[in-house]
Symmetry: C2
Subunit: 309 residues, 2 copies
Amino acid sequence: MSNISIAIHGGAGTILPDSLTPELERSYKAGLQEALDAGYEALEKGSSAIEAVEASVVSLENCHLFNAGKGSVFTSEGTHEMDASIMSGEDLSAGAVSSVIGVKNPIKLSRLVMEQSNHVFLTGKGAEDFAREMGCDFESKDYFFDELRHKQWLSVRGTDKTQLDHTSLKDEKFGTVGAVALDQYGNIAAATSTGGMTNKKYGRVGDSPMIGAGNYANNKTCAISCTGSGEFFIRAVAAYDVSSLVEHKNMSLHEACKEVVHHRLKKINGDGGLIAVDTRGNICLEFNTEGMYRGQRNAAGLNEVAIFS
Amino acid sequence: MSNISIAIHGGAGTILPDSLTPELERSYKAGLQEALDAGYEALEKGSSAIEAVEASVVSLENCHLFNAGKGSVFTSEGTHEMDASIMSGEDLSAGAVSSVIGVKNPIKLSRLVMEQSNHVFLTGKGAEDFAREMGCDFESKDYFFDELRHKQWLSVRGTDKTQLDHTSLKDEKFGTVGAVALDQYGNIAAATSTGGMTNKKYGRVGDSPMIGAGNYANNKTCAISCTGSGEFFIRAVAAYDVSSLVEHKNMSLHEACKEVVHHRLKKINGDGGLIAVDTRGNICLEFNTEGMYRGQRNAAGLNEVAIFS
């Protein structure tokens, strides 16, 4: 019997029950369920893990509530610069883009980089040129405009402050979406996408497009998508760190995820979380913040979305 | 007694004895020795490992023979887009830049990102803006113009071919410089810098600016700088892989470097090499290509530069 499994996240941070109205909480949960189902239904129909994680992330990118695609935050220049990456655990093939503007679904572009170019990582205008050659959908600034994001930006515009998307108090940065999946052929994959930090300057790149830091997949170990204070996830090489603990230290998937999120990241003050699956259908959702928008579903009947810890 | 140590590389590839004239071979060796001495003399004077690897890489960036800084290759648009990164093993702090144009020494800019910004990774125009605010030296296109690089570019311009800097036959890309060092305070550091691939398109980013892929340092394990077919080093998370084999599998530095270069990278067709040091002063220079421009020097009297295997 198949043990198809999928997990998704929509970012982690200081998400407290009284920071969300009941209506907004329902909206977030509906957005998560839709994305979870998009990926799961793909798996049920026999799609690959790559297709499933792409489907889930496209759904999250198209939802204005999450900081990726349509819901991306404003940079210091009032633009929306997006990063994404995708990796296949079957052959370690990978694709990533950073600082792309106007691309409707950066995760689709990442997959095209993986499958249609000789490269892994494309950035900026060059990545947009490649997207045009590949026939990717582009959207105007209006599509990416969101009243809440705009207000967040206006409150810090012209200052050196960056604001994290789901946290109102701390001057940190979260807000990423991601998915990991196991398909019926025994292959796993990971996908991650982000709209970056509110008011970000200087072409800052976080961990999301960095293979090994924010995203990683290897059938031998696990598939991982991270969300959190990206700089710390880069320095910790967080996604690959989980994989290496499984491979070289024989930790279980849960032990490895806990070790990275609660110890190795915490030691350098890294806040956030990650989601993981392995080829046996184990799912792990781990975070060291107050909450993480998340969901998980598998062939054994597990099907849930959650926000708080 | 202090066991200060430094190792450098100037790229790996299909470098065969008969592909270099005796005169050119002498020039390469002189360039390597100068860079090696710049870092070693810094260590002798009591500078930190970070200062030493920066000094060596600045020297290589200022030498027209190596594909970094002044000697950077031409992109498909006739520009020179450079990437670099630096990491301190003492506290895992790191800085990186990608796709910067006109910056004289991208490695200095990486260090400023590490020490003067809240970020780890800046790209493109934003990174150049930050460089200007920090007072970095900029150079005109003339400074980066080199007759050989220009001929390499003209031979593939207008085609989809990319050309590797030190290899005339294979359609792959090498050409990176790097340094790793141990200082008298027991701290290690790694620095890597590159001018990318001849005729590269689409804002391609290789492994050099990616912490964990092309560059990594951790006092607990080792400091690593890689050079080779970047896409494969990214997918292998090569630099951090060496560190994780030392940390989690208790391999010696040499065992870990050999395992990554000759087995784990080879398995996915990754060509190139890496240099490594640890806090005990062990040095390792490992490559799976015909040659690697390299050098090593330590307090015990070791002092050599080499090109072929």
